[in-house]
C-alpha cells in the first residue's frame, strides 16, 4: 500500500512537472479570433453548433499529441526536424508563410486588446502601445520558468467565460441535447460557420510552439505519459471554454434575437442585459485571451524561424548573441500593434488574409508531421501504431478539407 501511495505521489509530481506546454498551446487556441468565431456561432445559431465541439476536441487531441510526442522523443523542434529531413528550401518557404500568417494573427490579437478595452472607454492609443511594451518586456526580461507561470495564470483566467456562461442562465437542457445531437442545415451561412469553427481549431503555429515548448521544458520519453495526459486535459479544457462561450452567446443574444455580430466586443455588449458581471467577465476574458496570445505568438514565431534556419534563439541569450531572434520578435510585436493604430487600416481584410495563409500552410505542416512521426529512425518504438495512423490520416484529411473549404469561401468572399 505504501509503495502504491509513493508510486501515486510520483505520478502526480510527474504531472505537475510537465504541466505547461499542452495547457498553454490549447488555451491560446481560444484567442480573440477563436472567441469571435464561437460568439458569432452562438449569437446566430444558438445551441445548434455545440455538437461540433466533440469532434473538434478529438482532432485537437490527435494533432497536439503528435507534436508533444515528437518533441519528447526527438528532443528537437518541428522546424528543426523539417529542416533536417526536408531541406532548406522547404523550411524557408514554410517559415516565410508562418511569419506572414502569424503577423496577421498578432494584428488580430492587438485589435482584440483595443476593442476589449474600448468597452471600458480606454482609448486604443493608450491600451495598445502599453500592451505591446508589456508583452515585449515580459518575455525578453523574464526567464522561461517565470514566463511559463504567468502564461499558466493566463490559462486560469479563461474561467471567467465559464462563470459568465452561468450568469446568463442559458437553457441547460437544450445545451446538453445539442452537445451530442448533430444537426445539419442546408443554410450556407450555417455551413460556413461550421467550417469556420473547425478551421480555426488547429493553426500551424500551435504545432511548432507545442513541440518546441516540450523540448524547452526538457520533457523526455520517460515522462511522456504524464505529458500526454497534460495535452489531453488542456484540449478538453479549451473546448469546455468554447462550450461556455457559445452557450453564453446563445443564452444572451440568440434567445433574445438571433443576429450576426461583427466582433467579440459586440458579444460582450450583448451580455450586458444579464448583469454587469456577465459583461465584465466576458470582456476581461477577451482582454486576457488577446494579451496572452499576443505574447505567445511572436515568441513562438521567432523561435520556429530561428530553429529552422539555424540562427541562435532564446530569451536567455543576449541581444548580440541572437540578433535575428530579437529583431524578428520585436518586429512582430511592433508591426502587429502598430497597424491597429493606423486609422483606416484594412484590419478585417488582414484577418481574412491570415486565415488564407494558415489554410495554405496547415496541410503541409500536418502531412510533414505524419510523415516524420512514422519514421522509425527518428521515433524508434514511438512511431504511430497502425490504428492511430488511420485516425491521424482521417483527421488530417478532414482538417485539410475543411480548411481548404474555408479558404475557398474566404477568397470568393
Amino acid at each position: 500500500m505504501r509503495k502504491f501511495l509513493s508510486r501515486f505521489r510520483y505520478q502526480i509530481a510527474l504531472f505537475f512537472a510537465v504541466i505547461g506546454p499542452g495547457f498553454i498551446t490549447a488555451n491560446v487556441d481560444n484567442d480573440s479570433g477563436g472567441i469571435f468565431t464561437y460568439s458569432a456561432a452562438g449569437a446566430r445559431y444558438g445551441y445548434l453548433p455545440l455538437w461540433t465541439l466533440l469532434p473538434i476536441t478529438l482532432v485537437l487531441i490527435v494533432t497536439q499529441e503528435m507534436s508533444s510526442r515528437m518533441g519528447a522523443v526527438t528532443g528537437k523542434g518541428l522546424s528543426d526536424l523539417i529542416r533536417e529531413e526536408f531541406g532548406l528550401r522547404v523550411t524557408f518557404a514554410m517559415m516565410t508563410l508562418l511569419v506572414l500568417a502569424n503577423l496577421t494573427n498578432v494584428m488580430a490579437e492587438f485589435a482584440g486588446v483595443a476593442s476589449s478595452l474600448e468597452l471600458f472607454h480606454i482609448s486604443r492609443y493608450i491600451s495598445v502601445p502599453l500592451a505591446a511594451v508589456a508583452v515585449w518586456f515580459l518575455v525578453v526580461k523574464g526567464n522561461y520558468k517565470d514566463v511559463e507561470k504567468i502564461f499558466l495564470f493566463g490559462c486560469a483566467i479563461y474561467v471567467t467565460y465559464i462563470i459568465s456562461g452561468f450568469l446568463v442562465k442559458p437553457d441547460w437542457k437544450e445545451a446538453a441535447i445539442y452537445s451530442v445531437k448533430p444537426s445539419l442545415a442546408l443554410d450556407p451561412g450555417y455551413i460556413y460557420m461550421l467550417i469556420g469553427m473547425v478551421g480555426t481549431t488547429i493553426a500551424p503555429w500551435m504545432q511548432f510552439y507545442l513541440q518546441s515548448a516540450v523540448v524547452e521544458k526538457g520533457i523526455t520519453v520517460k515522462e511522456y505519459a504524464a505529458s500526454r495526459l497534460e495535452v489531453i486535459v488542456g484540449c478538453i479544457m479549451t473546448d469546455v471554454v468554447a462550450f461556455f462561450i457559445i452557450v453564453a452567446c446563445a443564452g444572451a443574444i440568440y434567445s433574445v434575437r438571433p443576429r450576426e455580430i461583427q466582433n467579440a466586443a459586440e458579444a460582450a455588449l450583448g451580455l450586458k442585459p444579464f448583469g454587469q458581471y456577465a459583461f465584465l467577465l466576458f470582456s476581461a476574458g477577451l482582454l486576457n485571451a488577446s494579451i496572452f496570445s499576443a505574447s505567445v505568438l511572436p515568441l513562438s514565431t521567432a523561435y520556429s524561424v530561428c530553429e529552422g534556419l539555424g540562427f541562435e534563439a532564446g530569451v536567455n541569450k543576449r541581444l548580440s548573441e541572437a540578433p535575428i531572434f530579437y529583431l524578428l520578435y520585436t518586429l512582430l510585436i511592433a508591426v502587429g500593434a502598430g497597424v491597429v493604430l493606423i486609422p483606416g487600416f484594412p484590419l478585417v481584410r488582414m484577418i481574412l488574409l491570415s486565415q488564407v495563409l494558415n489554410g495554405m500552410l496547415l496541410p503541409f505542416v500536418l502531412i510533414f508531421m505524419v510523415l516524420l512521426i512514422n519514421r522509425r529512425d527518428l521515433m524508434g518504438d514511438w512511431i504511430n501504431p497502425q490504428w492511430f495512423n488511420l485516425v491521424t490520416w482521417v483527421s488530417v484529411a478532414v482538417m485539410i478539407g475543411l480548411t481548404l473549404a474555408l479558404l475557398g469561401i474566404t477568397i470568393k468572399g
Binding site: G75, R83, L88, R89, G218, T220, V221
Partner: protein, 414 residues
C-alpha cells in the same frame, strides 16, 4: 571572391565531362573518407543514366565553377553505399554540428572548399562550414541563377563560417562513428560548463553518444553542470556500468542529487556497479531530503584532531590534493569526532609550524544540523558571509560541508 574557392552549393549539379569533353552527368553528392584524409573530397557521386557513378579524387583533372569537373580517367564504377563515406549532402547539410571554438551547436547550410592543384590534378579540400544568412541566400538561389551571379549578389551579406578543423560532427551510431573516424576528443578540452551547454542543445541520441565516449572524468564534470532533469535522462539512457563510472567521478553530493532524480530501480542498478568507497558516501547522502542541509552537503572536507598543529594540517592537505582547488576551511573534531572548531585555510600561511590549530580557529563556530531546511542555510550564508558551512548529525559529529557554490545553485533554481 577568390577563384580557387568553391561552395558545395556550386558543386551540386555541376556537369562532369569525360576525356573528350562530353557531359556524362551531374554531381549529386560528394563524400569525405575521413579515415584517408580529414578534409579532401574523396569521391564525387555523379548521376547520369540509371545509376549513380563514383569518381575517385585522383580521376579528376580539373574543377572550375565555369566548366565543371573534367576527368582524366573514365573508368568509373557504379555507386553502392559505402559506410566509410561521410556524404556531404546527405549526412552533413542541414544537420547540427558542434563548433568547438564558438562552443555552440550550429546547423550546416553550406561548405566552402578550396581547389588546390596537386601534382597536375585539382583536388577539393573542405575549409569552412558556412552558417548564417549568406549561405542561406546561396542555398535558396542554388540552381536558379548562374553561380557567378550568386557570388556577386551575396557580397553585401556578411559571411559567417567556422573553420572545418574546429567542427565536430556528431554521430549517434558507434559503428559508423568508428568507420568515419569521428572522435569527441576535442570536446574533452572544453570547459565542462560549455560542454554542458552544448549537450543541452543536442537531441537525446547525440547526447548519449557523447557521454558514452568521452572520458568519465570530463563526463562527470559536464554532467554536474547539466540541468537535473536532463542529468536523470542521460544517466538512464547509458549502460549502468558507464553511468556508474561517471557517477563515481562526480562529487558525492552532486552524485547523490543526480541519483535521487532517478527511479529507485535505476539508481540501485547504477549504485550496484560503483566502487565501494564512493558508493558508501553517496548512499549516506541519498538518505537525506533534498531540501535539507543533509541533502545539500558533500563529504569532501578535511578534518583534524583538535590538538593538531599547523604542520599536521599541511600533512593532511598533502594527502588530499584533489580537494585543494576548492578547499578554504579545515575542521577540528574531538576524540568522538564531534565538531569543535573551524580554521580558515589562509591562516595556516602566516602561522608558525608549531602553532596549534585551535588557536587559529574562528572566534565563533557556525554549524547546522543535517535536517536544517535549505532556506535557513542560505540565510546563514548571507548573514555571516560564509564560504563553507559545516553540517553535524544528531550527536554533533561532523557529517559534511555545504559550500557557497551549492548555495548559488539553489538560488539560481528558484
Amino acid at each position: 571572391m577568390a577563384d580557387n574557392l568553391l561552395f558545395f552549393t556550386e558543386l551540386m549539379g555541376m556537369p562532369v565531362l569525360d576525356l573528350k569533353g562530353r557531359r556524362i552527368g551531374r554531381v549529386k553528392d560528394a563524400a569525405l573518407v575521413p579515415l584517408q584524409h580529414p578534409s579532401r573530397i574523396d569521391r564525387f557521386l555523379v548521376g547520369g543514366g540509371d545509376a549513380w557513378l563514383v569518381i575517385r579524387h585522383d580521376q579528376v583533372r580539373a574543377i572550375s565553377v565555369d566548366r565543371g569537373i573534367e576527368l582524366n580517367d573514365e573508368q568509373l564504377i557504379p555507386y553502392h553505399d559505402d559506410e566509410y563515406m561521410l556524404r556531404i549532402a546527405r549526412d552533413l547539410l542541414d544537420q547540427q554540428i558542434i563548433d568547438t571554438d564558438g562552443r555552440k551547436v550550429v546547423r550546416v547550410t553550406d561548405l566552402t572548399m578550396e581547389i588546390r592543384n596537386d601534382e597536375g590534378r585539382d583536388i577539393a579540400l573542405v575549409v569552412e562550414v558556412d552558417i548564417g544568412l549568406r549561405s542561406i541566400f546561396r542555398r535558396l538561389l542554388q540552381g536558379a541563377l548562374p553561380p557567378r551571379w550568386i557570388r556577386r549578389l551575396q557580397n553585401p551579406i556578411p559571411p559567417n563560417s567556422i573553420r572545418w578543423e574546429l567542427c565536430n560532427v556528431v554521430e549517434p551510431d558507434p559503428h559508423r562513428r568508428l568507420r568515419l573516424n569521428i572522435s569527441y576528443q576535442r570536446l574533452e578540452n572544453l570547459h565542462p560548463a560549455d560542454l554542458a551547454d552544448i549537450v543541452e542543445d543536442l537531441g537525446p541520441a547525440e547526447r548519449e553518444a557523447i557521454f558514452e565516449t568521452i572520458d568519465s572524468e570530463v563526463a562527470a564534470e559536464a554532467l554536474s553542470e547539466v540541468d537535473p532533469k536532463m542529468q536523470a535522462a542521460i544517466l538512464e539512457a547509458l549502460e549502468p556500468e558507464k553511468a556508474a563510472d561517471i557517477v563515481e567521478e562526480m562529487s558525492p553530493d552532486e552524485a547523490a542529487d543526480a541519483l535521487s532524480e532517478l527511479e529507485d530501480a535505476t539508481s540501485e542498478e547504477i549504485l550496484h556497479e560503483m566502487a565501494s568507497e564512493p558508493k558508501t558516501d553517496v548512499r549516506e547522502l541519498l538518505e537525506f531530503e533534498e531540501d535539507t542541509a543533509g541533502g545539500m552537503m558533500n563529504t569532501e572536507y578535511v578534518a583534524l584532531h583538535e590538538n593538531a598543529t599547523a604542520v599536521d594540517a599541511l600533512g593532511a592537505l598533502k594527502g588530499n590534493e584533489d580537494l585543494l582547488e576548492t578547499l578554504n576551511t579545515l575542521f577540528l573534531v574531538d576524540a568522538e569526532e564531534r565538531l569543535t572548531a573551524a580554521v580558515p585555510l589562509a591562516r595556516l600561511f602566516v602561522a608558525p609550524g608549531s602553532a596549534r590549530l585551535k588557536d587559529l580557529a574562528t572566534e565563533m563556530l557556525i554549524e547546522v544540523p543535517v535536517y536544517e531546511h535549505q532556506n535557513r542555510v542560505t540565510e546563514l550564508f548571507d548573514k555571516y558571509n560564509l564560504l563553507t558551512l559545516p553540517v553535524v548529525d544528531e550527536e554533533g559529529k561532523l557529517a559534511g560541508v555545504i559550500t557557497a557554490d551549492d548555495i548559488i545553485s539553489v538560488l539560481r533554481q528558484k
